[in-house]
Symmetry: C2
Subunit: 651 residues, 2 copies
């Protein structure tokens, strides 16, 4: 049964801000109320970054309430977070200040609500962040523009400490000094924990102050939860360090504000912080909510104010899926293969859990290389390992792997190294983190790399076959892995040996054929086929897991006699499988080629719950059924009851 | 008339190495002989990096002759250059040591010779470098692999100082400390000059020693032209700094070894170093060659050895082209437009001259932002500028722009910013620098970015039209600019207004149509058409400058009645214009679609002279004519003399 969750209405924020004069207590109360709502939003959304939002909450509060000049005006100071995954905390603060609609407190990570990572479509959001390491550069650009345009805004950019592993930050520092950017203050939310574990265990930052200092920046340090210290540090920044860029290293605690989430509550020896992302368990919610309300009410009482008047709501009913995830299957299988093949090593960019690598890390700790949030370095290191005779498997979310290290993958390819790149979280789903994490351009961005085969398995059995392929082929492979739980339609698909460029029929039917890859597309296509059956079309559904290879002979067999051929993609419709199949089909020179239509994303991915986002992009079963039907020639519908398309694999 | 050029045969290197016992003089003589051959190779090739090869020559000499343990053996120490454009210097040394075939001294930047930047196909070349900033990461990967495989090689990686502007270097440093990489020594060839001008004027490096030190590295400094200092610094590295990675900042002079090229000879106030790339003028060759021979002979005389016995050869006759370059036309035009549009700003990544930006820099110095070799930072800065209301034009070589800053361009697109990216040096030619610089994957890598139009003008008039388009469209544009001189076939093409997705006929003919874009493809196609005419096929040649957009109506008009349609690409054949046109053509659902065939690169670009490389890839006029002819249906050839294809633009 769903728990009732409580939140603080904006009116209560207003009452507290009006009722507490002491600036320190006022900020403390505001930050606590923001944390209550942050927790509410993440519980309601079912995911989101508690730890990072809480560690930054006091800094954000101080900036918005005390430091920024004329915030939220065109010429006023600007604050934004480069790490971006602390967005729920900022949303809570903006709602508390009346800068975002009160109702949005219920709409985190929902369609037309508040996206999982910052997006310029949200009021008072200047930049899309969440792809790490871009924030300082963005602020620099805006400052140089302001100077030309005669504006004098100050920019305050929050970065994570793990985020500083990204090389772009260090690229950005020199130019800021060169231009004497007194307008730019970077605040490092130094909570010492990144996605997987302690920053020092991933890739020790060493002496952050010395690093910034060596790059010519002014350096300050303070307790990021102490408003007095924040005030004096920022005052010093404006006085002693005017005329140059400055960094404030703010020592914080991940999950600060309540003992339940505070990293300081972690038992000795526990490596993994439990509240980086994802909604807390209900017991943790209760504990944290109670602590936060108590802290708020003590402050209110001290200032003679009545206790908080919370509002409550049932969260949407959700059932956590127990379906298998391809990343889990992959991780177990890789660990097992590595037992028999000492060439196999794994590289990871701070996503050990999410990429399925825990079993590998436990069984082969000497062959697991944690590279930190440094994808360029990781991919070039893999090139070095391959040159020395190993077979590297390189892991990150596909959104970062295909793009941040794009040139590095190509460089490895020009050396003809054999490397397996594993991009998880591929495709439109989960749609809750937003477009920085939705990898729907990966096939086009890496598909043209010579000697690199892009392969997307649909279910657990195909993941196993894909690993067989990776170990047998002389080519490099980009393994595109969806991270959502596998729906039953694809979870139980039988093992079929993979032959490069050839697909196989999942559901035989009329000579009206839809091709797709991966669990998301094939599930929706199989469901669409059910719907189409009632419209008199027996759709043939084909799994073609090869995203940049198609065997012309196989395609010729499949297409001959077809009246209509569709390719449906969990990807932008440009540059992916539809282009590939269309080109190959046209080059076959069939006398009577089938009608062809490709379906995929045409716009930037929306953020929201999975099914609502699939529907918004026309990629759910119902939309697909109607799009397909609209493109099936009338003659094909009339042909229902015909012999159907044989599986060319069986010939 | 071509000058006779002289080189030192390997036997002379052998005589000198055998005849001079004193290690310092032996190294000095070897370095001088290497410089003579470096100069010869670059003169003969007509291009190459003198300044960087000369500044590194003494370091390379010391490493190869005195420092490396068992170099050139599988378990021996490894030296390589991360900056890579000092390759001619390394080749000269390897030839001198008998590690490369003597005859290769004549084959710099020629097919099957010595590539413009390092390639693993050359003996004793472990990594492909020249894409800056990857070297430290590569070495780290090899070291970690060595540890697993029980090997104990030391790695010496040379970097440029300008190269340190790339963020990947700083990504790489932390992990090396984390792993206690005593095997890794980075040597910074600190010659204070990068491609365009002084490093301090581009993006001041500040205190390099403090920077590396702050990242936890051991730090040493010495004169990079003093063998005694190199020896003692490297001894100290092994003794005092064992067990940790270390950097040796080697103070050098760009072009060191002769007054002609030495940066110390630059007059006060001269900003631009003249010998970064490109062959020197013949007077400079004579001066430098004389100086170097004199220095060598003085050393030989001091050790009682006969003077150098040089060999001479005529270089291949070449005529420098006076044809216009699209980058020059573009640069002049942009500067002029900016005079009337204050929103226009230009960003550059240390390629002011090569991207055509000099006129802009001179006329609008406050609106020219030199970002250094930091493409990620540059592209995100452009996002910041666009957010603040400017219209940024972002410049680099296409090879770096499309890939190093791939995620950053996408991030800007998700913010729906309007930005013009200008990737010059696009395509296969010039083929002399090698594949790190040949951008033949750019269309596929960025073509899928929503709201980004990829446009490649063919001649000067189309460059002007393209700028008109960039200033009028609400979209962002990726302007793909070939940098080779424009052949007469395209230099004088008349101005035709650009309409997105629509091409125009350059040469009317039979209903056998070849589509292409840019000066290289269209020149070869027009020449192929001449050849085909004698085979009875009047090829229709169409300029379609849109690489990721095609107008279905225009295509329908063009293709209706066509018997064969070809797309020829200065790009890999996967992921570019052929896929685009094929997909659109198939989706038109024509009852009798033309035969379709796409032609482009299928393998990694070769390095060599332009025409030999075009031919090697089947993209020269003769190869194209025969490929086209092989794919033209017999009926079409018989139809010669028919009415031809009308230009659909005229309808």
């Amino acid at each position: 049964m769903a728990e009732i969750l409580s939140w603080v209405p904006a009116s209560e924020f207003g009452r507290v801000l009006a009722g507490i004069v002491d600036r320190r207590d006022r900020c403390a109360a505001f930050a606590t109320l923001s944390r209550i709502n942050t927790l509410y939003m993440i519980m309601r959304a079912g995911s989101g970054h508690i730890g990072s939002s809480f560690s930054a909450a006091d800094i954000v509060t101080w900036l918005l309430l005390a430091e920024l000049r004329a915030p939220f005006t065109p010429d006023g100071d600007v604050y934004f977070s480069s790490k971006g995954h602390d967005a729920p905390g900022l949303y809570a603060a903006l709602i508390g200040l009346g800068r975002l609609d009160d109702d949005l407190v219920h709409r985190l990570r929902r369609l037309d609500g508040l996206p999982g990572h910052p997006d310029v479509g949200t009021p008072h959001t200047m930049f899309n962040t969440g792809s790490l390491g871009m924030g300082i550069s963005k602020a620099k650009g805006a400052i140089l523009a302001d100077r030309l345009l005669g504006r004098a805004r100050r920019f305050f950019v929050l970065t994570g400490d793990g985020e500083l592993q990204e090389g772009q930050n260090w690229e950005a520092l020199a130019g800021a000094v060169h231009h004497g950017m007194g307008e730019l203050t970077v605040i490092v939310d130094h909570n010492k924990l990144q996605s997987d574990t302690w920053v020092r265990d991933v890739s020790d930052l060493g002496d952050i102050e010395a690093k910034f200092g060596a790059f010519g920046w002014g350096v300050l340090r303070c307790d990021g939860h102490d408003f007095d210290q924040l005030e004096s540090a920022l005052r010093e920044r404006g006085q002693r360090l005017a005329g140059k860029p400055a960094v404030l290293v703010a020592d914080t605690v991940k999950g600060a504000g309540c003992a339940t989430f505070a990293a300081t509550s972690m038992p000795d020896g526990q490596r993994q912080y439990r509240f980086h992302s994802g909604a807390p368990a209900i017991e943790d919610y209760r504990g944290a909510h109670g602590e936060l309300c108590q802290a708020a009410n003590e402050l209110l009482r001290r200032h003679g104010l009545p206790a908080l008047a919370l509002r409550s709501a049932d969260p949407p009913a959700t059932t956590p899926s127990r379906a298998p995830r391809l990343t889990e299957v992959y991780g177990r299988e890789l660990s097992q293969r590595a037992g028999g093949d000492p060439r196999i090593v794994a590289l990871d960019a701070d996503l050990l859990v999410d990429t399925g690598l825990l079993p590998f890390a436990q069984r082969h700790p000497r062959r697991l290389f944690e590279c930190g949030i440094a994808e360029q370095d990781m991919v070039s290191m893999a090139g070095g390992m391959a040159a020395a005779g190993l077979l590297p498997f390189v892991h990150s979310f596909s959104c970062f792997l295909h793009s941040r290290s794009n040139e590095h993958m190509y460089n490895n390819a020009t050396e003809r190294r054999r490397i397996v790149y594993v991009g998880s979280l591929a495709g439109l789903l989960p749609a809750t983190p937003g477009h920085s994490h939705q990898a729907v351009r990966d096939v086009s961005a890496v598909g043209g790399i010579p000697g690199l085969t892009v392969l997307e398995p649909a279910g657990p059995a195909e993941v196993v076959a894909a690993l067989d392929y990776c170990l047998a082929t002389p080519d490099s492979v980009y393994l595109r892995l969806a991270s959502t739980p596998c729906p039953p339609e694809v979870a139980g698909l039988p093992a079929v040996p993979l032959v490069a460029g050839r697909g196989h029929v999942l559901r035989p039917g009329d000579p009206v054929v839809a091709i797709g890859a991966g669990p998301v597309v094939l599930t929706q296509l199989l469901r669409a086929a059910d719907r189409l059956a009632s419209a008199g079309v027996r759709l043939t559904v084909v799994d073609l897991p090869w995203l940049n290879r198609v065997d012309p002979d196989w395609l010729c067999q499949l297409a001959t006699g077809c009246t209509a051929l569709f390719v449906v993609e969990n990807h932008y419709t440009h540059g992916g499988q539809a282009d590939l199949v269309a080109r190959a089909l046209l080059e076959l020179g069939l006398a009577a080629p089938p009608r062809f239509h490709g379906i995929g994303l045409t716009g930037i991915p929306r953020c929201g719950a999975d099914l609502e986002v699939l529907a918004a992009h026309g990629l759910d079963a119902a939309s697909l059924a109607s799009t397909l039907l609209a493109h099936v020639p009338a003659t094909a519908v009339a042909a229902t009851g015909g012999p159907g398309v044989p599986d060319p694999r069986r010939n």
